[in-house]
């Protein structure tokens, strides 16, 4: 394949796009995205094929979504639910994703419960936890860090997880 040349980076900068987009809506102040220089790192404490793996999504059950709420306004609470109950699909129409070019009718495109169960059957992982967790996409870093993240950690400890896969939509 011939080498390509480009004047811009290939991957989309959503930070740049959203700043321009909301600027065009007349919002004077750009959103302050989280930035960190230092990054924590934990290693697996046992072989992967003995690990219980958990999943975290930004999607919710439709019945728990207040559709009149302004997106990101903090009206959702973190939750834990049975993976089996998610197999029919979750609600995410209120979230910001590319509804013109794709859809979320296939659960395993954003919450790979079935794929991870296959990996458990094959012995690649010990197991997928019975519960998965949901976390709101919130404008407030403070609510995410001080309310939601500790709650997800508590769920993970209750379920004795060895590692966690997080999938923002």
């Amino acid at each position: 394949m011939a080498a390509d040349r480009r004047t811009h980076r290939s991957h989309v900068s959503y930070i740049d796009k959203s700043r321009n987009y909301y600027g065009a809506h007349g919002y004077p102040q750009a959103y302050q995205w989280a930035y960190n220089h230092d990054v924590p790192f934990a290693s697996l404490q046992k072989p992967l094929n003995e690990c219980r793996i958990g999943l975290v999504t930004t999607s919710f059950f439709e019945r728990t979504v207040d559709k009149k709420a302004v997106a990101g306004a903090g009206s959702k609470e973190p939750y834990a639910a049975l993976c089996d109950d998610a197999l029919g699909g979750l609600y995410n129409k209120d979230l910001f994703w590319d509804k013109d070019n794709t859809h979320t009718e296939d659960l395993d495109t954003y919450l790979p419960i079935n794929r991870l169960r296959e990996f458990a059957d094959q012995g690649r992982i010990g197991s997928l936890a019975e519960r998965f967790y949901g976390v709101p996409t919130d404008y407030s870093h403070r609510r995410t860090s001080r309310r939601d993240a500790p709650q997800i950690l508590e769920f993970a400890q209750e379920d004795e997880l060895d590692a966690v896969i997080l999938v923002p939509l």
């Binding site: 924590p40 859809h103 954003y110 794929r115 990996f119 993970a156 060895d162 590692a163 997080l166």
Partner: protein, 125 residues
């Protein structure tokens, strides 16, 4: 979501984020990140393509096992549509002369709605 991953890591629980908004995740800074260059909505594979979903999810498992330091990003080899791969990038959140007035009007409408929510005391402040 990346903030949650960081909190779990700080508590000693290994994590991996799977996503398509590369800059947002990497600016926040996470231990392990599986990046797939798709439109937002299908970070773990295309609809109906179980083989691709397994490959992408398998990469996340590989990272849990093999990453040895934070900020380890792996980009999966998949492309959304090889024939017209840039259309979705240009289209999403587009701002140009064709929609500038409409976006400004939508913003104004939203601010009016938010103000009325606040006035009724329904907002969380």
């Amino acid at each position: 979501m990346s903030l949650v991953a960081r909190h779990l890591e700080e508590a000693g629980l290994p994590t991996v984020v799977m996503g398509s908004a590369r800059d947002i995740v990497e600016e926040c800074g996470v231990s392990r990140f599986v990046y797939t260059d798709f439109p937002l909505g299908n970070p773990t594979g295309k609809p109906g393509d179980a083989e691709m979903q397994s490959a992408i999810t398998g990469t996340a498992l590989d990272l849990l096992e093999r990453a040895w330091e934070p900020r380890t990003t792996v980009q999966t080899p998949f492309v959304w549509d090889a024939a017209a791969n840039n259309d979705w990038r240009e289209h999403f959140m587009k701002v140009d002369d064709s929609n500038r007035d409409a976006l400004a009007a939508a913003g104004e409408q939203r601010r009016v709605a938010q103000a009325s929510v606040k006035a009724e005391g329904r907002g969380r402040g």
